[in-house]
Symmetry: C2
Subunit: 375 residues, 2 copies
């Protein structure tokens, strides 16, 4: 498929994908001859090129498919993104189908976010990343109309952003050591565990770095006693918390682990949307909130408040994403105890620039909306 | 005490109360000669004149003391209010003392609401109405800088506002009938019960009106079996829900009542701030959120989300207040199942105009901030 990414981002173009056409506003409508102009949604698939092969407990890959979105209204353009790593079940095709089925032109006031996003959510089940791509673009649009970044609209202070972890994938000792050296700027590294070589991974890192670590097991451990032994070993090695140590279905085992663990246990695969937060109370110490799983910034904001009201800690995470979705998530990060917002740093073809990591810390800018510009 | 209310609202004046002076910005500072101007808080006591004697289960009164507040910044002025009905423990003197102790000039960015309001909250325990008067003024200020009303910033749709109840105090049959006739515009009336004449009150109203009713018992019933019998009787009379039927300490009895009641049971005295919401889950069907009890709009917004995440219903209530605090609360009302926002309608000397009740429904305007103007 041939397309010009800059032209999508910078201009209003008719786009078709898999035979699905997105309706265009005519110039007459754009010029306001018709009294009430609706929101104009468009979208385009894009493939993120990863700098390194990305290895999780059960898969490896070199690209991540995303859908870039755009909502135009009254001379303003809001940008959004759906990132769809293959294991989550969405594809560019499912996203295009979902987005094509939306009629946002019926909405003539972008501030009615509750109503607009409820319409989007009710259009079809699942499609959470596609839904997030609308939510993010809408937030970017409204923030631009307001003239403020969302972290300010939400009343946060920019210096409260946490340090972000940088993820070290599962790999050979040599590659792991190389990656850790490249990541010297980061104040905390996230190590993917859950395979045979877990202790080797940690020892390889500790041979070259004393930086604090957190580990993401991606449900990789199957036995609670082995998991607890491992966590005690990890604590001795300077690990700060453990993400999704066991399969999410094993709630009794995980609750037992959390009760006995010397480190906080954070839910990742176990949590997607707002109603899932309640299910993690008493089972986990905290939750990892990702826009692509929870349908976007609006629901994520509610999830942070709900988690905190229940004394749960919060990590704001991401997929491999462009600076668009990462900057959107970063708007929430002053509320979070931890951030894992390195998704844009893992790719070599980011069409946007947005938040920066400065001395390992999430660093917001004052651009309105989600704080991105076209790079 | 002699003072000129319009001069307080319209101008920047030095105000002293009970020997406590509020520091003033110099003209040089006002004109921006100094590089960073802080938030300027001022305040003035005001006494609301009630149109009718107001009778609750345990008290009667004809006035309500309030404190009007103002935060000035960069040519914008945000208005706030603390309403202090005597049974809640705050007075104009305690509010003046609390507000005088605040140094908001240290804050040069009003958008940092989390930080500013955390500072205010941590300054001293309690003083919730005084804290709300800062929160409301800050929201009004930030909304005016943004140029939007808060209901829009929060993403709500104005037509989702509920009808508001209008409160009929405990009184003689004749006066009750007179009040009900005066309240013909309202789609739901709130009846204060909890004394000997409960059934007489309801029957007096039903002799002249079929309008839906809700009842607020203000903890007045002491026996759960009597309360349940009464609730079954009330259901037959077209009552829609029951607020705080029994003393808040009787959680087991109230939980039993909620489980067996044919009508929703709403917490009022049992709930003040965000952490109280969790304590009502499983005990009540819903909560009544009042800005004066929960320290303002920011915490109220979180409380609504937390309640809804736990399948609790929400009423946005008020004290006797000017249009200032009522309009602030009304910004949240599109999220709420019920509203009880008649506080400004009960007074004869409202210095502001703001939200209106049109055909019984809370009707927001598009003025930025909390949507008030000086009347």
């Amino acid at each position: 498929m041939a397309y010009n990414r800059r032209s999508f981002i910078k201009t209003t173009t008719i786009f078709t994908f898999g035979g699905l056409a997105v309706p265009q506003l005519t110039n007459a409508k754009m010029k306001g001859i018709l009294p009430k102009q609706g929101l104009k949604l468009s979208f385009e698939p894009y493939n993120l090129q990863l700098k390194h092969v990305f290895t999780l407990a059960n898969s490896s890959r070199t690209t991540t498919p995303v859908m870039l979105t755009k909502i135009e209204f009254d001379g303003f353009t809001g940008y959004g993104e759906a990132s769809m790593p293959p294991y989550l079940g969405e594809t560019q095709k499912t996203a295009a189908k979902f987005l094509s089925g939306l009629n946002l032109e019926q909405f003539t006031d972008p501030f009615r976010m509750d109503e607009i996003l409820e319409y989007v959510d009710n259009k079809a089940p699942q499609n959470n990343a596609a839904k997030a791509s609308v939510d993010i673009a809408l937030h970017d649009l409204v923030g631009k109309i307001i003239g403020q970044p969302w972290y300010k609209i939400w009343g946060f202070s920019s210096e409260n952003t946490p340090v972000t972890s940088f993820t070290i994938g599962i790999d050979s000792r040599e590659v792991v050591i190389e990656k850790v050296k490249e990541a010297a700027e980061f104040k905390i590294l996230k190590v993917k565990l859950g395979r045979e070589n877990d202790k080797n991974m940690i020892e390889a890192i500790r041979s070259v770095s004393d930086v604090p670590l957190c580990v993401d097991v991606n449900q990789g451990w199957k036995d609670k006693n082995m998991a607890l032994d491992m966590i005690f070993w990890l604590k001795e090695k300077g690990i700060e918390f453990v993400e999704q140590p066991m399969p999410k279905e094993l709630t009794n085992e995980i609750a037992w682990l959390t009760e006995n663990s010397p480190l906080p246990i954070i839910a990742d695969e176990a949590i997607q949307r707002l109603p899932d937060v309640k299910k993690t109370i008493g089972i986990y110490s905290g939750i990892n909130i990702k826009l692509m799983k929870c349908t976007g910034m609006r629901e994520a904001h509610k999830m942070v408040n709900l988690a905190h009201a229940n004394q749960m800690k919060v990590m704001i995470g991401c997929m491999t994403e462009t600076s668009c979705a990462v900057s959107a998530a970063a708007q929430l990060s002053p509320m979070a105890e931890w951030a894992d917002l390195d998704g844009n740093l893992l790719i070599s073809n980011d069409p946007y620039s947005g938040i920066k990591i400065v001395n390992g810390k999430v660093t917001l800018n004052n651009n309105p909306g989600i704080g991105i510009s076209i790079s």
